[in-house]
């Protein structure tokens, strides 16, 4: 029978989950369990928690996330180019320079617009 190499990745995934879950099971069996209402409070320096915790995020995080997606997608184009570069030659390098220049222009635009400012 012939199988894909990724079968091992699947096995490893199952193994890793089991490896992480096993000590938690042992904990459930051996560790003491003494509940108290003070102990179950959230740990915020001993004072009563104030206001809602699950709040809205600042927009800055979203902007960084968008920037990340842009550059992450760019690598989708970069990896195949890099792998097959040996058979493509100078023309591919020039093409990639054009592509990366546009990308760099995007970075410069975001930078100039203050999207990279953490404040």
């Amino acid at each position: 029978m012939v199988a894909h190499n990724y079968v091992f990745i699947g096995l490893l995934l199952l193994f890793a989950v089991a490896f992480a879950a096993a000590p938690l099971l042992v904990v459930a069996l051996v560790a003491p369990r003494k509940r108290s209402s003070t102990k179950d409070d959230v740990y915020e320096c001993g004072v009563r928690t104030h206001g809602e915790t699950w709040v809205r995020f600042r927009i800055q995080y979203y902007i960084y996330a968008i920037m990340f997606v842009v550059f992450d997608i760019e690598t989708v184009f970069l990896y195949p180019w890099a792998v097959s570069y040996g058979g493509l030659g100078m023309f591919a390098l020039v093409e990639m320079i054009v592509f990366l220049t546009m990308l760099g222009a995007g970075l410069a635009y975001a930078w100039a617009k203050g999207a990279l400012r953490w404040a």
């Binding site: 199988a3 990724y6 938690l24 560790a31 990340f68 992450d72 040996g86 970075l107």
Partner: protein
């Protein structure tokens, strides 16, 4: 090698990797990394470090494990219980999966995926998700702050980290870590070229940031936000985060070694004789033993460097952290892709690594790399001077005579 025959031998090899490698050796290495870090940090701070449990404190990791297992597991009343349980498992799973494609020697690799590097990036970016789930599910403001910082930081440093691998892929012509390793057996370590050195530095810095270690450990900055995303984790659940962090340090050290330092090759530019003693099983075993020993020495060096950095540098401020990723590392690594292409045209395409080629390539790309680094820093400094709001947050006016 995409397909494998599913016979007894394959199953045996996979079972050995799982039972010996992933269940015993890697956790063992991680446990003694913790011991080593405590010893090293102690030496840096003029202390002795653990020395009570066993000779030289060598049984300390075992004592720690027993302690963690017998501790009560406390989940806050208002937390999301299911997600709170899943988060550490997810983070640890991500750390384990990274190790699956690392070639420790010739043929000594769990699996050789043709798209190994993409796989590596995909599974290592699972850990921000777990960290965020941990912080969010705890329903603690400090946890949430830590988680948000963690995601912003991990996402930002992933970009230069990915871009820094492009030169390696370009030169090796493959995404498989095994092929990248094999090419360096023939052509020397990739770190010994100016673009390779720049990529190596970028990758190492971004790697330290990816595993949340000082000076980039903002997500768990204990002086400001208690313990960040794992504030509400006790006992073994905290232990899983701890294990995952050290496993990631080991993983990133292994990956750096394979990508830039030629894996286990002992000498930089010399072709390593893989068929020492005529290619018998015994010679293969000997070769692998040498490669594995050298590999682990290099990995140990990187681990020590990370401990060293932790003992030396203070924590960065969050805005400077993000600036460093986006305004220094990203532009530099984009430029570095060009330099890597020039290196390919000057050295690798015309007949590989002769000394004349190497010297010419090093001179040309060396000038370019130094100029790029210098210009990036100069440009950033000029921009900061012209627009002070970009420099510091909160923007504090310099103390003047009248203000006093």
């Amino acid at each position: 090698m995409q397909l494998v025959e599913l016979n007894f031998q394959t199953w045996l090899r996979w079972a050995l990797w799982l039972v010996v490698g992933f269940a015993v050796v890697f956790p063992g290495i991680v446990a003694y990394m913790v011991w080593l870090e405590r010893k090293v940090a102690a030496r840096f701070q003029d202390r002795i470090g653990p020395n009570r449990v066993g000779p030289l404190g060598l049984l300390q990791p075992i004592a720690d494990a027993i302690k963690l297992i017998t501790k009560e597991n406390i989940v806050p009343r208002s937390a999301d219980r299911v997600v709170h349980l899943l988060a550490p498992i997810l983070v640890l799973t991500s750390a384990f999966l990274v190790m699956a494609v690392v070639p420790f020697g010739v043929g000594l690799v769990p699996v050789d995926l043709p798209s190994g590097l993409v796989y590596l990036i995909a599974v290592s970016s699972m850990s921000p998700l777990g960290i965020f789930l941990a912080g969010w599910s705890s329903r603690n403001k400090y946890s949430l702050l830590g988680a948000m910082r963690a995601v912003a930081q991990l996402v930002s440093y992933e970009v230069p980290q990915i871009l820094a691998t492009i030169p390696v892929v370009l030169w090796a012509g493959s995404l498989s870590l095994v092929t990248i390793f094999d090419r360096q057996l023939e052509f020397g370590w990739y770190v010994f070229s100016p673009p390779g050195l720049l990529a190596f530095a970028t990758f190492l810095i971004a790697g330290v940031a990816e595993v949340n270690r000082t000076p980039f450990d903002l997500p768990e900055a204990e002086s400001e936000i208690i313990a960040g995303y794992h504030t509400e984790y006790t006992g073994m659940r905290f232990g899983l985060f701890f294990l995952a962090e050290y496993l990631s340090v080991f993983g990133i050290s292994c990956v750096t070694t394979v990508l830039f330092l030629g894996g286990g090759t002992p000498i930089p530019f010399l072709e390593f004789p893989v068929d020492l003693l005529g290619g018998s099983t015994a010679s293969l075993a000997l070769v692998n033993l040498i490669l594995l020993a050298v590999f682990l020495l290099k990995v140990l060096f990187f681990i020590f460097v990370m401990f060293w950095i932790r003992a030396t540098l203070p924590r960065m401020r969050v805005d400077r952290l993000m600036n460093f990723a986006w305004k220094y590392l990203v532009p530099l690594s984009i430029l570095n892709v060009f330099f890597a292409g020039i290196w390919y045209e000057m050295v690798i395409r015309p007949g590989g690594l002769t000394f004349a080629n190497w010297l010419r390539g090093t001179l040309v790309t060396g000038v370019l790399v130094v100029a790029a680094v210098y210009l990036t820093f100069l440009l950033n400094r000029k921009l900061v001077e012209s627009k002070p709001i970009d420099a510091d947050w909160p923007s504090v006016a310099p103390a003047t005579e009248s203000a006093r």
